[in-house]
Every structure is written in structure tokens, then in C-alpha cells.
């Protein structure tokens, strides 16, 4: 039907290069020595200092207190990403189940109470959120890092849409067979939602891993730093030095972006499905 011509491919190739080259250059440059980068600039040719740069970044004790390593930050990023994704899925599946599958008086009110949160992003209430966290004594805790981020209805909305598309006959049949609310949820609805859960997990993991502003407010103890949170620290150290450690800065950036990018690329079908169906 269409004749694909050379120009279409040209646009796509240029677009792909624009998107990907900076990432590739970040990696290749990170495998050179700092002095080398300082003299020759960024490069596309891989160097031969890969192992030592990444080993330094992962294991050297750095920061002001000298106890935080790249590995600690990697671990914290994982905790934040996993904790957020799992918490979000559990909370929102339960809430969506209540809203879709139960007849109770306050259902409409509950719906609005939950979905109002979609209107205001966390960024507009950072300072009062910080005050509240301070009052609750949750500064520098994993709870304080993860739980407040769960206060939004994106996941609930997504599962509500999905539950509504599940045929009514299923519940009717299950009830005839004597299944109660718990049994129906665990034995029928959860297995049925597997794909949806996977899609949600990828999106939420990436979202949690990539958090920056909230961890910055909630944690000043370096033991709680995530990789993304640590980026600022890299720059501060970097500003003051003679020959900045470009290689280490790039290596940190690569570490911070590798897990989420890999997840999105490997599971891209689930990811796209989850994204296009949850936001609409």
C-alpha cells in the first residue's frame, strides 16, 4: 500500500541516533581515564579502563562521611524501586477491587477521595509533606522514602479500568460455585490480572527508581542515598576539582540508568501496554 522510501528511514535513523548517541557516548567515555577525557573530550571509542572505573565507583567509600559506596546506593535504588512497585500494586489492586466489585453506600465518595489525588503532583506540596514527615519522625527511613510516594491513584485507576473489563459472568459463576470475596480475588482475579500486574510493575519500578526530589528531601543521611539522588553529590565534588572525574561521573550515570532502561527495553510490549492503557 505504501511505498516506504529512503527518506522515512533517514528520519528514523537520525532520530534514533539523536536519542541513543548521548547514552552510548556516556558509556564509552566512562571507560577512559579522567585526564584523557579532559584532553580529548567525549569519545565514541571504548577505552580500556572499564573494570577499574566501575570497581572504584561501586566500592570506594565516598561522600562526606566516607561510608557510602556505589553498591550501597545501588541497593537503596533497588529497595526504592521494588518497594514502590510492590506497594503500589498491592494497595491499588485492593482499592480497585473494593470499588468495582462491592456494593456499598460510600462507594462514589471513596472514588472521588481517591481520584482527586490524580490532580496534584507531589511537587506542589513538597514543603508541607516534609513537615508532616518530620512530625511523624520518618526522615531518613525507608518508610518515609517509599510510602508517601504511594499517595496517588494512578495504579488504582489502571486496575479499576481492567476490572471493569472483566466479564460479569465470571463472578456469577464463581458465586454459584460458592466462592466468597477473598477466594474470588485470590483464585480468579489475581491470576487473570497477571499481564496487567507485570505492566504496572515495570512502569512503577522505573518511576520509583527515578525519584529524585523526594529522596533529596527525605534523606540527608548518606546511607540512604539512591543512585539518582547521588547524582547531585557527584556534581558538587566535581565542581571543585582541578581535573574533574568525568569517567566516574559518567560511570555513575550509566549505573543509574542501566536497570530501568534494560527493564523497559526487554519488556517493552508489557511496558507500552501498561503505559497507554493506564494514562488514558
Amino acid at each position: 500500500m505504501y511505498r516506504t522510501n529512503f527518506r522515512d528511514h533517514l528520519v528514523l535513523i537520525i532520530g534514533s541516533l539523536m536519542m541513543l548517541l548521548p547514552v552510548v557516548v556516556a558509556f564509552t567515555t566512562s571507560t577512559h581515564e579522567a585526564a584523557d577525557i579532559h584532553m580529548n573530550g567525549l569519545t565514541l571509542v571504548p577505552g580500556d579502563h572499564f573494570a577499574e572505573t566501575y570497581e572504584t565507583v561501586l566500592t570506594r567509600q565516598g561522600g562526606f562521611t566516607g561510608k557510602v559506596t556505589g553498591l550501597t546506593m545501588l541497593g537503596n535504588s533497588l529497595i526504592l524501586g521494588l518497594g514502590f512497585a510492590i506497594g503500589k500494586i498491592v494497595l491499588s489492586m485492593l482499592a480497585a477491587y473494593a470499588i468495582v466489585y462491592f456494593r456499598f453506600r460510600a462507594a462514589t465518595a471513596m472514588f472521588w477521595i481517591i481520584f482527586t489525588t490524580l490532580l496534584l503532583p507531589l511537587e506542589v506540596r513538597i514543603l508541607p509533606s516534609y513537615e508532616v514527615m518530620h512530625k511523624l519522625g520518618l526522615i531518613n527511613t525507608y518508610t518515609g522514602l517509599i510510602v508517601p510516594l504511594l499517595a496517588s491513584a494512578t495504579g488504582t485507576f489502571f486496575f479499576r479500568q481492567f476490572f471493569k473489563s472483566v466479564p460479569d459472568e465470571l463472578l456469577e459463576a464463581a458465586r454459584i460455585d460458592g466462592a466468597g470475596p477473598f477466594k474470588f480475588f485470590i483464585d480468579i482475579l489475581v491470576p487473570l490480572s497477571r499481564t496487567m500486574i507485570a505492566a504496572m510493575f515495570i512502569i512503577m519500578f522505573v518511576y520509583g527508581w527515578n525519584q529524585y526530589l523526594w529522596p533529596m528531601l527525605m534523606t540527608n543521611d548518606e546511607g540512604f542515598y539512591t543512585l539518582v539522588r547521588g547524582i547531585k553529590q557527584i556534581l558538587i565534588v566535581w565542581v571543585g576539582s582541578q581535573i574533574p572525574d568525568y569517567n566516574e561521573a559518567f560511570a555513575m550515570a550509566v549505573l543509574a540508568m542501566l536497570p530501568p532502561v534494560a527493564l523497559v527495553v526487554i519488556f517493552q510490549n508489557w511496558f507500552i501496554k501498561g503505559l497507554t492503557e493506564s494514562d488514558k
Partner: protein, 293 residues
């Protein structure tokens, strides 16, 4: 609503309890607190606060500095939204056309989505670095002496560039899925009626894409307003004084660096109103003019 439902008076509340608890403690309480403290002048050393009515709002909205930042935020939002939507649409249209290699292009184009804004900012800083940045060297070839971090407009350029780069994959994904949901019969009829590909795009495809484009417009506005915080924070490197910043960054600066609780809260509430107006605008006005195929 479902035809078949459980009727239990207690169970639904049990299932809703965790979500409600989190929302009340971490959404409604801080939001209410923001509104309350925007009417008070807080003592910076923590010795009580005085009710000042709308004074914080008046101070904020009459401050030339704030208005300058608001103007910059508007410019930044428009530029980021326009360029990332345009690039996303162009790439999606092309990726929808090609058959050979389309999944490879798709993979390459979406991968950047998962990069965190501050990491994107860090990579951007390297590319715009005075010593090692290839973009600075490229600009020098055209006689443009680029000083990102020192020159206001050069920094603006770099920020918009990085923010657009980071957002293209998102727009690409949505435009592509919008294009792919257009029925083949419509496309075939269009081909018979109109030979000119560009004209066919604007008269047939574009109207069918308006719901997607419209949804993305709002998403991109909120992205430029809020999610670019990481990009900006990394790129201005603590020297916000003579660098361009957005309103969200100003809320953070005044609240955490300036210890101005009342002023920062008033700014928070102003931003809340902006977001609410955008949302209402979305539902009331724009949706009516959009063609839903």
C-alpha cells in the same frame, strides 16, 4: 458498574483502608497544611507564626523576581511541549510507515524513556561542558560562544534541549499507538481519495490523532512544569541566582534554602491552582473541539 457485586458492609472498607490511610496522611494532610501555612508568616527560627491573610500571595504575585520566573516557566513549558510533541509525532508517523526494521526503531526510540531527569541533566551537562562538550565545539564552528551555566539564554537552550530529548520517547509511544489504532479501511479509503501523502496526513490522520495529541498536550505541560525539576537542579548546579529556573524549582528554593515557609506554601497553592485550571480546561473546553474517531 458491574451487574454482579458482593454486598458486604465492612469488607470494602477493609480493602480500601491501606490506600485511604496513605492518601489521607500523605496527600490530604500536607495539601491542607500548604493552604493553611500560606496564610501565615512563619518565624524562621521556629518561634511561632502570625496570621497575615493574603499577604504571602500579594508579596509573591507582586515580586518582579517571581513574575520573571513565571514568564520563563511559561516560555520553557511552551518550547518543551512544542518541540517534544513535534519530534515525537514526526518519528511516530515515519515508524508507522516503514515495515522493515520497524521494531528495531521502536526499541531504539523508546529506551531513553527510562532515564531519570537528573541523569539526563548530567549527561546534558557533559555535552554542553566548557572543556569537553561536543555541542559547545559545534556551536563555536558557527561563531556561537556557548556558556551554559553562565549565560542565561545559553543555559535555557541547553535545558530545553535536554528536557525535550527526555520526553520524545513518551510522545512517540502514544502517537504510534494512536496511529496504529486507526482502522486499515480508513487508511485505504484515504489512499484512494488522495494521492498526496502530506495532504492525506493533515486531512485524515491528524484529525483522528487529536484525542491523543490533546491528552499529550496536558501531560507535556505537567512534565515541563514539574518533572523537569531534576534536569534543572542538576544543570544550574546550586547557582540558581543568574540562571533560568521554573516555578517548581522556586518553591523548593524558597522553602528549603530560604526557609520561607509561608511564601513557599503560597507558591505551592498558586501552582495547585494552575494545575486545577489546566485540568478543568482539559475537560470543559478543549475536549469539545477534538474529534473522537
Amino acid at each position: 458498574m458491574k451487574r454482579a457485586q458482593f454486598s458486604s458492609s465492612l469488607l470494602p472498607y477493609l480493602f480500601l483502608a491501606p490506600q485511604l490511610a496513605v492518601i489521607f496522611i500523605f496527600f490530604y494532610w500536607p495539601s491542607a497544611e500548604a493552604i493553611r501555612s500560606s496564610f501565615f508568616l512563619e518565624d524562621p527560627f521556629g518561634f511561632g507564626s502570625t496570621f497575615v491573610g493574603f499577604q504571602n500571595y500579594i508579596d509573591t504575585l507582586t515580586s518582579p523576581e517571581y513574575l520573571g520566573i513565571a514568564a520563563f516557566t511559561a516560555l520553557f513549558t511552551v518550547l518543551v511541549t512544542f518541540f517534544s510533541l513535534a519530534a515525537g509525532l514526526l518519528l511516530a508517523v515515519k515508524a508507522d510507515k516503514v515495515i522493515r526494521g520497524s521494531s528495531a526503531y521502536k526499541t531504539l526510540l523508546i529506551s531513553v524513556y527510562a532515564i531519570a531527569p537528573p541523569v539526563a541533566g548530567l549527561i546534558g551537562m557533559m555535552f554542553f561542558d566548557q572543556h569537553i562538550g561536543p555541542f559547545v565545539r559545534l556551536a563555536a564552528l558557527f561563531g556561537w560562544e556557548m556558556k551554559v551555566g553562565l549565560n542565561y539564554w545559553d543555559t535555557t537552550f541547553a535545558m530545553v534541549f535536554v528536557a525535550v530529548w527526555k520526553q520524545i520517547p513518551y510522545n512517540f509511544i502514544f502517537f504510534l499507538s494512536g496511529l496504529q489504532s486507526i482502522p486499515a479501511s480508513v487508511l485505504e479509503a484515504a489512499v484512494i481519495d488522495c494521492r498526496n501523502g502530506l495532504r492525506r496526513f493533515w486531512t485524515v490522520l491528524a484529525p483522528l490523532l487529536t484525542p491523543t495529541a490533546f491528552f499529550l498536550l496536558i501531560i507535556n505541560f505537567t512534565y515541563a512544569l514539574f518533572d523537569t525539576f531534576g534536569v534543572i537542579d542538576v544543570m544550574v548546579k546550586d547557582k540558581a541566582a543568574n540562571n533560568p529556573i521554573t516555578l517548581t524549582y522556586k518553591v523548593y528554593m524558597d522553602g528549603f534554602r530560604g526557609n520561607d515557609l509561608g511564601g513557599s506554601s503560597a507558591q505551592s497553592v498558586i501552582l495547585m491552582v494552575v494545575v486545577l485550571v489546566l485540568t478543568v480546561f482539559q475537560f470543559r473546553f478543549l475536549e469539545r473541539r477534538v474529534h473522537y474517531g
